[in-house]
Structure formats: structure tokens, C-alpha cells
Amino acid sequence: MPREILYGWGRTSPSAANLENPSSQAQVEALLHSSDATLARGLGRSYGDAAQLAGGLVLSNRLLGGISPIDGAGVVTVGAGISIDELLTVAMPQGWFVPVTPGTRHVTIGGAIAADVHGKNHHLDGSFSRHVTALRLVTPTGTHDLTPATHHDLFWATMGGMGLTGVVTQATLQLIPIRSDHVLVTTMRFDTLDEIMAEMLAHDDDFRYSVAWVDCMTRGRSMGRGILTRGDHAPSGTTPVAPRGARLTVPFTAPSGLLNSLTVRAFNELWFRSSPRHREAEPQGIGAFFHPLDGVNSWNRLYGRRGFVQYQFAVPDEAGDSVRTAIEKLSSSHVPSFLAVLKRFGPGNPGPLSFPIPGWTLALDLPVGPAKLPGLLNELDELVLASGGRVYLAKDSRLDAATAHAMYPRLEDFRRIKESVDPEGLITSDLARRLNLLGK
């Protein structure tokens, strides 16, 4: 069988696996029985090693396609390999939108379920799983149609379970109605982190979507300056149109070091200055608002051969200070960091490995290279853990096992549920091995 090198989006620790492209549930079942180590993979948008399995069998979900007609209530059943992009291309002209979208539309439904992804509306609408009404899961011991009511444990273990409970072949989702392909966006620029956080605490609930971009490269008075954008779908407007394709492609892997403190600082400065201080209800295209980075294909290659890591953590409200401390540590360490993304999370869900907990989440993109980066992130782990928080597994590529276990105290529940459908631990991943998620 041909081996392929599989990467995560951060391009840091690739590994080789046997790659297959099953196009039916029966093929998935047969392949699962043919191997003693298997994992599903979507579009590889997780940053680290979640969708890799060195030496094992990796099943690309991309041929598990199909989009059912969308019923009058916005309910649709899609193959696990359908991407949000593909779904929107069909759904938007009919006036429907996905209930939750991550910062890129190039993720599959299988990947969105496995990471239980969140969007800019988590504070009100929760994560992806809240809008999944049913899914089909192929496990080594059988295939199950799961709903939260009929298979509570297995359903929730699969939501955020990083592909470790089995292969999802299809899912039924509840879409939301939209009346236009525009979002009315209110933008506010702040000179300090405290002001941004105060504004988000006070008024985020008035907006369906909210996200702040924070500059982690400035020190002193303007430390943590940033821009808050919030909005909701426009009530009506131009005829809904399909999303535009990407305009630019990065055709090569840039030299490592292209993104250094100087260039990143310059970029952040430019971006901050070009943003309005305050603008109300400006109409923006859905693509520009939800998926600004999708305009440049393969932008991850700009980080060079060594790649980059994304550090995303969540902490409860009581520990809001940790957000400030984390940004302070970063800005005083001179480690280059692109704009950090700050969001509020609403309540979590019963998924034992689902990432969101109510409070704050901060995500930082950091190029691999600075010698002090590994140690700095270990310090942030301690801070996050001491604050009762956790790091997002879909973004992780460097956490250690003990810390991960402490951050996800319900890991034992997860293992028990997984063992009920996969007693031999046939479904695993490089991530699971690195973090000893399966306890084998």
C-alpha cells in the first residue's frame, strides 16, 4: 500500500501512513477490519498530529460525500467528508447557513464533529455538537446510529473525541436561516486589553457573533491593544450568492524566519492602524467576516519549513486575569506572534473531551524557531492549568501527557466509553500516542 506523509496545518511533526479513500460505509467497515491501527482524517486543518497515525491506516473521509435535500426546517444530512465550504455552496442560495463555523470553511463535517469546533457565536449558540441531531459511527465492534437521546455516552464521547471513538460516515445537522449573504459588523478599536475585555463582558450577548483580535507584540501602555468585531446576519439584502473562491496561493514554503519579530510587529501595526476606531453595522460579505484567511490558499506555508504552533486555551471567567498574564508573558519574551484571537465561551456540553468551558479563550499563532518558545509554552500550560483551564487538542502539537490529563479531568470517562466500542484500542492517532489518551 502506498505510504503518504501526512501533516497537520502547522506542518511541524509529519508522519507516514497508508492512506485509503473509502467512499461508502461498507468500505469503511471492511478497512477497519483490515488493520490493527486506524484513524479517520478530514482536510488536515487541525494544527498538530490529531489527523496523523504513523505506520497505520488513515482513512480520508473526503469521498464520504452526499448532501441530502434541506428540509423546510433547515435539517440536512451530509456525508462526513463534505466540507463546510461545499455545504455552504449548496445551502446559502437556499437561505441556510451553518450553525457554527470555525475560522476556515475548509474543514469537513467529520473534522468539525471530532474537534467539536466552535465559532464566533459560541457564547450564545454553543459548539458544533449542539446542532448535530444524529450521526453514524463505524467502530471496530459495529456501526451505530447515534443521537443524544439513544446513545448519550457514545454520542458525546464522539463530539470532541478527536476521531478516537470511530469513523463518522454521516451526520444530520440543524442549519440556521439567513436572509442575505451579508453580516452587519460593528467594529471597535481599543488601546488596552482591559477595555476590550470589559466591553466583551458587558455587551457580547447583544451580538450573535463576536471576536477580538489582540496585538501581543506591543509592550507597555498599549499592551494588548486590539479590535473587537461583532455582528449578526443582515436581515435582508442582495440576493444570496455562493461564496467566492480563494484568490491567492502561496506556491512554495517560505524560508523559516521570514516571519520574525520585526515583520510580525510591522504587520500588526499596519493592521491596527488601518482599522476604524468605531464603526456601526457595516455590511460585510460572509466570507470576509467568517473566513478572512481563506482568501490566501496555503498561507500556513508562509511560516517556513519548521512550521508553527497554535496555542489556544480556555479559562473560566474567574481566571480572566490569566488572559492578561499570558499576553504579558508573550509580549515580554519577544517571541513573534501574529494577532491573537480572543473570544468568550458560553456553557460547555457533556462531551468528556469537548474543549469549550464558559469564560475566555485565546488563540496564538507562533512560528517554531525561538529557543525559548517551548519553555514559554510550558509556563503557559501551568498558568492555564492553575486557572482551571485547558488547551484545545485540535490545535495542539506540543502538550505533554500529564498536563493534558490534568486539563481534561473527564478523560477516564472518555476511555471507558471508547473501550466499550473499541476494547483493543484499534483506533488511535499520533495525538493519542503523544498524550497517552487511550491509557494503553
Partner: protein
């Protein structure tokens, strides 16, 4: 599994009592490594090295003994070392080698051949098995300890440096052969390192110590650079030395 910074969770060290290997293993344990297998000749020294690693935070250590003069058993040594680790092996360090005694070895056929066996043949035999296993596993890294002496062989240590030169050059091809397998090989070229192996030898310029080499290794693992030179400045020095006309090269070496 290795993390985004090339830091391994587990390591197999062949030649586990060499001062450089010990320092690297210690530094790895201080950063992230939990499981270490040390293979070497002397059980008591291996045990001491293992204890040192446990004190530094290793959760599991094991020792395997072998004789680098017997390449026919290299496969066996590699298998027993790999068997000590439950999952995939992240990093294999090849630190096997002996300085020998150039003056007496150079007129002694058996001793000369032994220098090549220990520094070149045994490591190459072991690499065959390591390569096979890591490629099957689809991941992993190999660090081969060579020497800047391999860049240009000196009269004063031509048996040692010549064997290292063979290993170093061979590993360049071996590294290319790993393209597309998920496995990578890096060559460590330390300069003159003050260790038990070099006591009594005249120090070369930019001499260093095992801890400094170990720190450079940690940095080097975070990159995909084929060669890690420690200290880094020797890259430039040897870029010149390598192309010096022979008479000048000899003169420099005599004067020292």
C-alpha cells in the same frame, strides 16, 4: 511521539555511556523525554547513567549490553533496545565509538581494523536495522554522532577521523534515502569536546564541553537541518579548512 519542537518522548541511545550521549540524554529528559534505553558495553556504567536520568525525571530506563566489535550482533542489540519501548521509538542516538591510540594502532592491522569496526562497521550494521524499523513505523529520527574531524581527516587521528568520515558520508546518502518515509536522520558534528575519551589529547580551537553540545542538539532537533555542528562557528572554520591546500593543512596540523 515527537512534539512540534522535535522533542522526543522516548529515546534509544546506542553507546549510552559516552559523555556526549549522557549529556544529550540528560538534556532531553530535562526538556521532555520520559523513557530512555541505554545500550553500551559496561553494565555498571550504563546503570549509573540510567540512575542519573531517573534523578533528572525519566520515568522509565532500561539498559542493553552489546559489543561494538561484533557487528553480526548489531541487529540483535537494536531489537532488544526497541523492545523496551511500548509504542513508536521517537529518537535513536548512535554514539558508539572509540578514540583508539593512533600511534600504536597505525602499524597494527588488527587494531586498525578494530577502529573501523567500532566507529564505522558496527554503526552501519545497526543503522540497517534501525532504518528498517523506523520506516515501518512511519516516524522517528536518527541522530548520528560524527565529528568535525570527519570533514577533513588529520594525520594525528586518521584511523578515528577516517572511520567517522566514512560514517558521516554514508549517512548523507542514508538521510536522502529516508525522504518520504516520515523518518529523518541528522548528523551531529561536534568539535573538540572535553570528555573522558579526549583526556590527554591536545585541545583544538573552539573546544567545548558535553553540556554545550547537548544544548545545541536540542536546538538542532527543532530544525530539519541535515547537519548539527557544535559549536556552530566551526561550520565557517571548516568551510575554510576543508579547502586548504594540502601543504598548508599539514603545516597547521604539525604546528599543533
Amino acid at each position: 511521539m515527537e512534539n512540534a519542537f522535535g522533542q522526543p518522548q522516548n529515546v534509544v541511545v546506542l553507546g549510552g555511556t559516552s559523555d556526549i550521549a549522557r549529556a544529550i540524554a540528560l538534556e532531553l529528559v530535562r526538556t521532555r523525554t520520559r523513557e530512555v534505553v541505554l545500550a553500551g558495553r559496561k553494565p555498571d556504567e550504563l546503570a549509573a547513567a540510567a540512575r542519573e536520568l531517573v534523578l533528572a525525571g525519566a520515568t522509565s530506563t532500561a539498559v542493553v549490553t552489546f559489543d561494538a566489535e561484533d557487528p553480526s550482533k548489531a541487529t540483535q542489540c537494536v531489537s532488544s533496545a526497541f523492545d523496551q519501548i511500548a509504542g513508536p521509538v521517537d529518537l535513536v542516538i548512535i554514539a558508539v565509538g572509540a578514540m583508539g591510540d593512533q600511534d600504536s594502532d597505525e602499524n597494527d592491522a588488527v587494531a586498525s581494523a578494530r577502529m573501523i569496526t567500532v566507529n564505522f562497521t558496527w554503526p552501519v550494521a545497526a543503522l540497517a536495522e534501525i532504518r528498517r524499523r523506523l520506516v515501518a513505523q512511519g516516524s522517528g529520527r536518527i541522530l548520528v554522532i560524527s565529528s568535525v574531524a570527519a570533514i577533513r581527516v588529520r594525520r594525528a587521528s586518521y584511523l578515528y577521523s577516517g572511520a567517522k568520515a566514512g560514517l558521516d558520508r554514508l549517512c548523507e546518502g542514508l538521510a536522502d534515502s529516508l525522504e518520504g518515509t516520515g523518518v529523518s536522520l541528522q548528523i551531529l558534528r561536534p568539535g573538540f569536546v572535553r570528555t573522558k575519551m579526549t583526556t590527554g589529547l591536545k585541545e583544538a580551537p573552539f573546544s567545548t564541553d558535553p553540556d554545550a553540545v547537548a544544548r545545541d542538539v536540542i536546538k538542532g532537533l527543532a530544525t530539519s537541518h541535515r547537519v548539527i555542528t557544535s559549536p556552530h562557528i566551526l561550520v565557517y572554520l571548516f568551510a575554510i579548512l576543508r579547502h586548504l591546500p594540502a601543504p598548508l593543512w599539514k603545516k597547521i596540523n604539525e604546528s599543533r
